[in-house]
Symmetry: C2
Amino acid sequence: MNSQDIHHIREFDRFYTRIFRLTDKYHLQTTLTLLEARLLLEIAENGYNTANQLVQVLRVDKGYLSRILKRLEERGLLAQTPAELDKRSKILSLTDAGNEQLAIINQRSDDQVRSLFTNLTSSETKQVISAMQFIEEHVTKIKE
Amino acid sequence: MNSQDIHHIREFDRFYTRIFRLTDKYHLQTTLTLLEARLLLEIAENGYNTANQLVQVLRVDKGYLSRILKRLEERGLLAQTPAELDKRSKILSLTDAGNEQLAIINQRSDDQVRSLFTNLTSSETKQVISAMQFIEEHVTKIKE
DNA sequence: CTTATGTAGTTGACAAAAGCAACTAAGTTC
DNA sequence: GAACTTAGTTGCTTTTGTCAACTACATAAG
């Protein structure tokens, strides 16, 4: 792998982070931070339903997470019910209001994605997606 | 653009951010934060050599930036010399130590990129890079 | 020239985000 | 059942980022 290749890849990296605006303070004009939005998503859609699982998958401090979850609960978006099996842990789930918030976020994320592709023909869009899938399949995960 | 397409794209987004580890606190095991590393790079390699230019291109608060630049100067990585043409502004440049730091960061970034591609044949690598370039050329920038 | 207005960067005060360590309560091992 | 581990909480601190006021210089208009 030559230095020109590496240059291209790092260039893409900068392009990508800029375009997808990963640093937006509030996620898509909701009152949720990026992390809060991500938590709702992981809980509701990816089945991570304990604080501990979220700590693993998102690599956040457990103390910090604990407070964020408490805040989400206070805001009525999240329910924490003691686990029957292991009484140390709590099972996390979204309330109806939480699911509504998530739906809004998803809607806006979808809109954002769509707007990135507005000028593309349907065939170009398909090619971009193929390119993404190709990258996803081939780029190797770094070891932890 | 159908919902399946959007799903694929958002999936790629999550994959990408996870793999490239954009949230690492210290950039590649140096004592520089991601922003500090980025500043050195923009100053030395992209020719943005005033605080004002950096504010524009990286969209950070000018007060915050001012403090970071001061810190980099105190650490001996950065020199700020008054501009002759406009005495309000200072011309930023890396010291030798700053260039060394940047070289280390670049080296490690390169290594990281390389390690993501270790298992790929040279032809697969070329295809991934082509895919990246295709995405870069086609995905439209969101308006500010 | 001089007044008004704009711009580059600094500073102080503050708020939000994140990290660290000590702690409680429950589970596990032997 | 004593020693150890684990899930989550809480207090304390640091880091990161925001906002507004301020200084010094620049520029345009009368």
